[in-house]
Symmetry: C3
Subunit: 335 residues, 3 copies
């Protein structure tokens, strides 16, 4: 059958204020400037699907993220950094996809349980990004559904010839939907790309409930990380051989407020251990609010505010201060 | 409303002769080889527009330049190096665009007053490229029209946290059209990306007149540059803390010569000061001729010749000689 | 006339086993992991064509290869690394194309005489890739057909200003088709990119015969290489000023086996001289089998096995062993 190729994407730009620097020197580097979207990163891609008969389908997706403010690729080393996969949908037999894909935790958060669908600023996305690792190369993924139960299992090989297990990732997720209630669970095991003995292990439980015009969300992450990934996302510095432990919580609500308005509030809280030295403890939380006005189904303008606070051993996660205040006005166009 | 995404671009390739080297050693490095287009750089892009009702529109544009001779990106660091923006057209309220965009001078020259619509070889584009800086990141731009008066104002932030004004650019342009006469004026103020105290300031006046089958153009640039940009475009070497001053003039004519032929002649002249040492003076001029034959509305073949001459302190702008002769045969296809 | 732009490509992914390392240390680095396609590299592109009247056409093609397993560009330095050209088809006058294009040997092998249409793993493509150099920048190419005789001639300039002939490539090919028999011949002369005195010279003779449901192929390459290209493709190390000589042979068959199955067998054999030191001799051969099952015209699943063996002075072409066994399961989708 004929393949239909669709060109699609999101152009999302914001004018962002933050009151701290990401540079080494600027303790008071508050700044206003153009930035990528607050919640959705700008992207473009190709996707297609072919009917193979009997309800079976072949399909592919290739997607690149970019900065609309400067035209740069989100990942300068990858043409299709967000998604690059080929799949077979065998109906009752399930769906097999191969390529660069979201992790099982990322999909659970972005599509179902994070009140912000995983944000796009560091300040509003650090918890799910640190715990879920967003996406991974070399992924073989199987998904199926039994009534209200959706199951995903994934395996990804690394790229290291001498330490063959280095870079390997295994993940599994379950999602159960009954009426307005959604429940999710996931486990992910990742080995560092150059050393298979350093691992990140994360498990997660989440829930959502759909009221008439509001949806509420909550979840918990339990993370242990020897790979340095969590420190990289959080903004800290990794100490070799230290197993960072995180207990992360989130909750939020999205309200269809009428008159084309959608209001979202979200809170993220993380208790961490072994951040800089063995046995230290830290805390971090973030509060985020978003007000979105739909000019059409495909075009929205929005305002957002965010507040992050770090304390104790997590204090180094923000450069030169213990808190960051951010705000932005933006516009998103889906094509 | 549904967004229509359009895939578009230009494939332009030329066989180019030049009689000087861009290498350090080759005083007599004349050469024939494939090159990008003489006037238009090869490019591809995505653009779309959505009707928001009441005549209002959301629109975006993403565009990458490339070398058709070797498949390389024009700017290896950017996916969409030419344009990446999202905009809102509010009719009488004007048009707001955010992202990577042309400077106000570049748009004035490319769309209205440069007889070559800003060329694509160094040898035929140096004056408007040096004075106008072509395009810029992080740009917030507002445009509106009052009768025959078109106004554009733009502001762009830099990317430097410790020197917040570094990289900032402000620009404004006016264009007035009355009958066959067009008049343009622009001012642009740019701070160097790493040092806000180094600035480029340029103002410009231009005019065009449309006769029956010919259009004539003329203009003047007044430029002062401490950022090193002008020396980089011109081919010279920047001396720290030196404020280069340029008085640039251009004039030309485009003639629809009948029988699918278009003939263009253009002259560029620049008197410069403070090029290598404080107080020195230089001169440079270029003469360019283009003959274009349209195979269709979208496909043209062309021939072009160009002559550049430098003297006095501007002598170092051409490697190893005081003049360059170039010529090319090419083909352009707009898709 | 209106240009129709077509978005097209191939998504091809395989799960690959090989029992040797491409790393320096791993003599026994067998591994299973996701890889690009076995035969066809994943790619996407734009192409278009415009009718200029009288049967004449302008056309272009822009194509990028990528790894579906990790989203990376096949060539990180090029946006359109596979093809970037603009052309004019003048019917009886022939076809002129300018840009980055396949070499004449690559086109002969990929479209007509290699039983694998030039494979995509190193292990199944080394002979035609080493002899034909795949593709080249800055290429001016002319093609025409006289009855059953297809002729191609190409010239490409280099990019070196001080040694103007460095990087130059000239090639010519003839292909004659009579009934079920196809005959091909080609010659290619390439100068190293930085030193015009180092050359690769290759000539080739090939034949194919189409039986009812099977097609058989055979061919011979005679190669002399001072540029280091052959050693780079083969996996060895280049010794300066050494002219490597290769006598390469290939043969194979493709059988439309019925029931949506296509079976292909191919053998490649190379006798080489002057590989590491002047006067040494080496041998290498590869056996490849592919079984392909068509889910549709555009989607296939396949299995492949390959065996490579090196001996004598070619022994260094495989890291740490004298043979490699590879196997893969994969899926290709053409869009």
């Amino acid at each position: 059958a004929e393949t239909s190729v669709t060109l699609y994407g999101i152009a999302d730009v914001s004018i962002r204020y933050v009151n701290t620097s990401d540079g080494a020197t600027g303790a008071d580097g508050s700044r206003v400037g153009l930035a990528n979207g607050a919640i959705s990163n700008s992207r473009w891609g190709l996707r297609g699907s072919e009917d193979l008969g009997g309800g079976n389908r072949a399909f592919f997706r290739l997607e690149q993220g970019f900065n609309i403010q400067d035209g740069r690729a989100s990942d300068s080393g990858r043409t299709f950094n967000r998604l690059a996969y080929l799949g077979l949908d065998g109906r009752e037999l399930g769906i097999l996809t191969l390529g660069r894909q979201n992790t099982v935790i990322q999909d659970l958060m972005a599509d179902h349980f994070d009140p912000l669908t995983v944000g796009n600023y560091n300040e509003n996305s650090w918890l799910p990004a640190a715990m879920g690792r967003v996406r991974n190369d070399n992924t073989l993924r199987y998904a199926n559904t039994l009534g209200g139960l959706a199951m995903v299992a994934s395996w990804a090989n690394g790229d290291n010839w001498d330490d063959r297990k280095a870079g390997e990732q295994m993940g599994a997720s379950l999602r159960y939907t009954v009426g307005q209630l959604g429940l999710g669970a996931a486990y992910q095991h990742t080995r560092a790309g150059t050393d298979s003995s350093a691992r990140q292990r994360v498990w997660n439980l989440s829930a959502s409930y759909q009221f008439d015009s509001a949806k509420v969300f909550a979840g918990y992450f339990n993370g242990r990380d020897e790979t340095g990934w969590v420190n990289a996302v959080m903004g800290g510095t990794t100490t070799a051989d230290l197993e960072r432990k995180d207990n992360g919580y989130f909750a939020g609500v999205t309200w269809q407020a009428g008159g084309s308005w959608t209001l979202t509030g979200a809170a993220y809280y993380d208790r961490s251990k072994n951040i800089v030295v063995d046995g230290d403890k830290g805390r971090r939380y973030a509060l985020v609010g978003v007000a979105e006005y739909a000019l059409s189904k495909r075009t929205q303008v929005y305002g957002t505010v965010d507040y992050n606070k770090v304390s104790d051993a997590a204090g180094g996660e923000i450069s030169g201060r213990s808190s960051v205040v951010g705000a932005a006005l933006g516009m998103r166009h889906i094509f």
